[in-house]
Structures are given as C-alpha cells and as structure tokens.
Symmetry: C2
Subunit: 104 residues, 2 copies
DNA sequence: TTTAATTGATACGGTTGCGAAACAAATCGG
DNA sequence: CCGATTTGTTTCGCAACCGTATCAATTAAA
C-alpha cells in the first residue's frame, strides 16, 4: 500500500514535496493549532531554518500561509489554506482507495 | 497514520531518501524481478537519468546493487541487498505498528 | 558489413535543500 | 531604561537533484 500511494504521488507530481515538507504539512493540518516555527521544529526534531524554508516553498505553492501573532509579535502562526486542504484531501482519498484494494 | 509514519521516517534519518527514491526502492523489493533502468523509468514515468542517479545514491548506501545482463549486455539488472531488505523490513514494521495504534 | 536502434551512463547549467552561524525584532527581567 | 533571552529569518558555502542533450556500448536490421 505504501508503495502504491507513493507511486501515485510520484505520478501526480503537482506539488512535489520532500518527505520533510509533507510531514510538516500533515502536522499543520492534522494536529490542533496554533502552530509555530519552533513548535514544528521541536516536533520534527529539525532546525528552525528547515521549517522557515519549507513554509516559504509551501507558501509559494499556496499550501499554507503565515501571520504574525499580535499578542507576542515574535511569534508566527501558521495557517491552513483552502488549496492545502484540498490537496491533503486528495491524498487522503488516495490512501483510502489504495487501502481498500488491499488483499486483506 | 501517514503522518505518524512520515514523522518516524524523518526522525530516523538513517537513509534520507526522496519520495522518488523510496518509490524506486519499494518497486525493486515488492515487484517481481527482473528490474531494469528503463522498466523502472516507465513504471514511475520519469526519465532514465532519474533512475540511474537514484541507483547510484542507493548503491552507495548499500540498499541495492547492479549487474550487467550477460544475455543482452546493454541491460542492467538491479538486485536486492541484505541491507536494503532489512531497511524495508524496519519500515514495514513501523507501518504495522502505526496502523495497530489507529483508533479503528 | 554497415547502418540504425536500443540501453544505460554522463555532462551541463540551473534550482533547491541543507546545517551552522549571524541577524533583526520583540519581549522579559532587573 | 538596558542587557539578556526568545523567535523567526537570512546568509554562506556546499551538496543533491532535476531535465535536456549527448555519449559509448551493444544489439538488430538491411
């Protein structure tokens, strides 16, 4: 199943994200907000620039957006987007479809 | 579940493969041999250099090996290795473990 | 045998991601 | 107010990957 889904992702190729980027995206959309750079860095155990750069590229693709936290303006809160939701929904459907076809 | 497994892969970090490389590796180990460069390129719908380069890097990591086909010496057949088998087995266990913890 | 086709590898220029370090802005603590 | 801390970003040099085009070796075809 992992093979089939990965293969479909390679075929799709619309947003080709790295495993790290995909993991960041899933964290943002599946775990309860708010999400910050340092929080994601800690969860994935990577450095902060990794998060910043991933947010840059995913921001250009429209998959996430950023906003300053007005209560503590050092913080940046990461927000979901419609396009990101649609993209992950598509991947979710893909996984479900592949799982359904498993030989059980 | 996809999230959890990806997160574990990022944490592990022993061989950090791209999605393409992982898909190539899974194809080699899960689909019936023989595997050739052009065959994998066709299956993944990528160009041949992509396969060659992926085999280079995965070969260095010891995950696959290559051998000339003696019947048609233009061909290269890709072979599994012990280390590659162990690596994929570890990932398989990871997936099973994560799936077991699903809320059903 | 000589030409054409097939197969995998390589060269090239460009893009992207990386870790470490330095940085600017904001907040905290005395 | 002023130095220390926290937070996210940027810079630097470097390595890896990409697609296109080309190459060398091998086989098939004429």
């Amino acid at each position: 199943m992992w093979h089939d889904v990965s293969l479909a992702m390679v075929h799709d190729n619309s947003h080709d994200l790295t495993v790290r980027q995909m993991t960041i995206l899933l964290s943002i959309y599946l775990e309860p907000p708010p999400h910050t750079v340092r929080g994601l860095a800690a969860k994935l155990r990577v450095t902060k620039p990794v998060i910043t750069r991933a947010l840059d590229t995913m921001g250009i693709k429209g998959l996430v957006s950023r906003r300053r936290d007005e209560r503590d303006r050092r913080n940046v809160v990461i927000q979901k987007t419609l396009e990101g939701s649609l993209y992950l929904e598509k991947i979710g459907d893909l996984i479900i479809e592949m799982a359904r076809e498993l030989p059980r």
